[in-house]
């Protein structure tokens, strides 16, 4: 079982990889809309990648209104 820290780290790495930004440039408290300059559809696209990676299903409503990596990782952790 992953710890929340591990989950958060994996979310950050996956997001960096998905949006092609340098590893280590994203942080747990970052607002991903702002930091990555993405819109809500691109955020949904990222969720599919996260679902595949963590082998979970995240309903859309679980992540609507979430905009920082930390909360996103917590929502994922709750479903692991």
């Amino acid at each position: 079982m992953r710890t929340l820290e591990q989950t958060t780290q994996e979310v950050l790495e996956l997001a960096a990889n998905h949006f092609k930004v340098a590893d280590g440039s994203l942080h747990a408290g970052d607002d991903f809309y702002k930091k990555l300059g993405i819109d809500s559809l691109q955020a949904l696209d990222m969720l599919s990648r996260l679902e595949n990676h963590f082998q979970i299903e995240l309903p859309d409503y679980e992540v609507q209104g979430v905009s920082d990596f930390k909360t996103l990782a917590e929502r994922i952790q709750a479903r692991l």
């Binding site: 949904l44 696209d45 409503y61």
Partner: protein, 570 residues
């Protein structure tokens, strides 16, 4: 299609539709590419009537308000029909709101019953705001796991009354639903829409764009939105058509659904349309040079042959692969909810995919003007729908003024807000707050807003005043939020932004700490509600005798400053 003149309510029309098209498919539900459910009108009725009876057994009576907070799915529509059978008034809320926002609107609407999904209910029931909303007496939740703690709710699936429900008739003037067009945080704007509004709107829309049995409408916009309720439920049902729901609106599943279900119509907001355009363009750019040349040649031929009107059969042959990607049956993409850029609309039309650009607002019963494709115009929002009067109030020398709307589709008013209603509906005319003018062909063109609000590309209305609560307690003398377009009119309805205007105390410096505090508060707002710029204003704000900011005057004063010089990024 049913002749809607014969019916006096949504419930009565739907009841007739269920009897008229028993063997037609009315609903398809898919989750992550897998079909989960397919219902005929008969099967829909068999699920809805026991629920209606169950709601009556729980005491639901005519006029009682029932809120639905669900993602687009079959149980949303079944619940809506059941509540209309009971004579209830629907309060559909956006499932994407935060729990405290939901509770605020549940309180404002005086809903006594809430129907929601278990996952959403878990978030709602954990919110402290629940305690402040005693009016919600009954909560039904769908899809709760077998051993789940229902947290005071009842299982939707178990609400099965025995025997036929008593159908409760409603009059055309009765309120069918309370739809929140915007406004959480400040003053909720609950549009009271009558049965007449819906019946008139449906008649007007289907006069130009009818549905028929066999049509498959892909319902992507949330059904709480007036557009989707009309074209993704009521309209298709009274025509015997089918609605396709996707439980997960990830772009890859949406793309797949077009082909898999051979979608006939879909309504998209500009953001999604632009995303589709980007994806298609990327695929065109990847074509090898020879194929690319052949494709461009076909596109040019299509453009020449569809100049005066769409010719779907021809376009489907000329640009076969593109059309097959959309399932080969797509009649048109309806675009609404916000303003679309003409080049995006033109991109699709050039591919032989008609784009029906429409303009409307919840207060006007949804659609006001629609492009009739005779011929296609990317630069306008079309002509007034049959039965809807549109005029330009107090036009300037260029003919631009406020768009005003009159007709049977105009709402009854805002719930519990006679003042705002009186400001908005003047002598029977709905003052939209949007600035426009008619061209010589009778098409409406839009040029900006008169109201201090923005509409995002996702179709979200954001009133500047509603965002101010996020900055309450900020250590400055005073502050105000404005739509940049309201202060510095751009004659544009795209890329609209909000700005925060602050006035510091005498001798107070604009410190990095204050800037960080503003940024942190801004980040706590839902992303589409955030302000994008900051103005540090040097003078006192103009105030009324009761010390309220006179926004109009302040906006005029700010308008004398140069936007580029005074707006700082946040």
């Amino acid at each position: 299609m049913l002749d809607l003149r014969k019916y006096s309510s949504i419930g009565e029309s739907l009841r007739e539709a269920l009897e008229t098209f028993p063997d037609e498919v009315c609903l398809i539900e898919s989750d992550r590419g897998e079909e989960k459910l397919r219902l005929t009108y008969r099967e829909f009725k068999e699920r809805a009537l026991p629920l209606a009876r169950g709601l009556q057994d729980l005491g639901l009576a005519a006029g009682d308000r029932v809120s639905i907070i669900m993602t687009n799915q079959s149980k949303w529509l079944i619940s809506a029909y059941a509540l209309f059978c009971c004579g209830g008034t629907m309060v559909p809320l956006d499932f994407k709101l935060k729990p405290e926002e939901h509770w605020q609107l549940l309180k404002h609407s005086s809903a006594s019953v809430l129907i929601t999904e278990y996952g959403i209910w878990r978030q709602l029931s954990a919110s402290p705001a629940r305690a402040e909303v005693p009016n919600v007496k009954t909560v039904l939740v769908t899809e709760a796991p077998p051993d789940a703690d229902l947290l005071g709710a009842q299982r939707w699936e178990k609400i099965q009354g025995s025997g036929e429900p008593v159908f409760v008739p409603r009059k055309r003037a009765d309120i069918a639903s309370i739809v929140y067009s915007s406004g959480t945080g400040g003053s909720p704007k609950g549009c009271m829409l009558s049965h007449e509004n819906y019946l008139a709107q449906c008649t007007a829309l289907t006069a130009w764009y009818p549905f028929w049995p066999g049509v498959r409408y892909l319902s992507i916009l949330p059904t709480n939105h007036s557009i989707d309720f009309m074209v993704g439920f009521f309209g298709p049902f009274v025509c015997g058509a089918a609605v396709v729901h996707l439980r997960t609106l990830r772009p890859e599943f949406v793309r797949e659904a077009f082909a898999k279900y051979q979608i006939t119509y879909v309504t998209l907001v500009p953001l999604v349309l632009k995303n589709l355009q980007k994806g298609l363009q990327a695929r065109f750019d990847e074509l090898p040079a020879s194929k690319r040349r052949a494709f461009e040649a076909m596109r040019k031929i299509n453009i020449a042959l569809t100049r005066n009107q769409p010719r779907l059969a021809l376009s489907r042959r000329l640009l076969k692969q593109v059309h097959e990607g959309f399932g080969g049956k797509l009649e048109a993409i309806i675009v609404g909810g916000a303003f679309s850029e003409p080049q995006t609309l033109q991109f699709f039309y050039d591919l032989g995919i008609p784009v029906i650009n429409a303009y409307g607002l919840t207060e006007g019963g949804t659609g006001v003007t629609v492009n009739d494709l005779k011929p296609f115009r990317a630069d306008t929002v079309g002509k007034p729908l049959p039965g809807i009067e549109v005029r330009i109030a107090t036009p300037d020398v260029e003919g631009i003024g406020e768009v005003a709307v009159r007709g049977k589709t105009v709402m009854a008013g805002y719930l519990n807000d006679p003042d705002m209603t009186a400001e908005t509906i003047v002598d029977g005319w709905l003052m939209t707050g949007d600035m426009g003018r008619f061209d010589s062909m009778g098409h409406l063109q839009l040029f900006g807003r008169k109201k201090n609000m923005i509409v995002t590309e996702e179709g979200k209305n954001v009133y500047a005043e509603d965002v101010e609560s996020a900055f309450e307690g900020l250590k400055v003398k005073e502050f105000c939020v404005f739509a940049a377009n309201y202060i510095w009119p751009q004659r544009s309805m795209t890329a609209e932004k909000l700005v925060l205007v602050i006035h510091l105390e005498q001798g107070q410096a604009f410190t990095p700490e204050l800037k960080n505090e503003i940024a942190a508060r801004n980040n706590r707002l839902t992303n589409y509600k955030r302000v994008h710029g900051l103005v540090v204003y040097a003078d006192d704000f103009p105030l009324t005798a009761s010390l309220k900011v006179i926004r109009k005057v302040l906006a005029q004063r700010l308008g004398n400053l140069e936007q580029e010089k005074v707006v700082l990024p946040i």
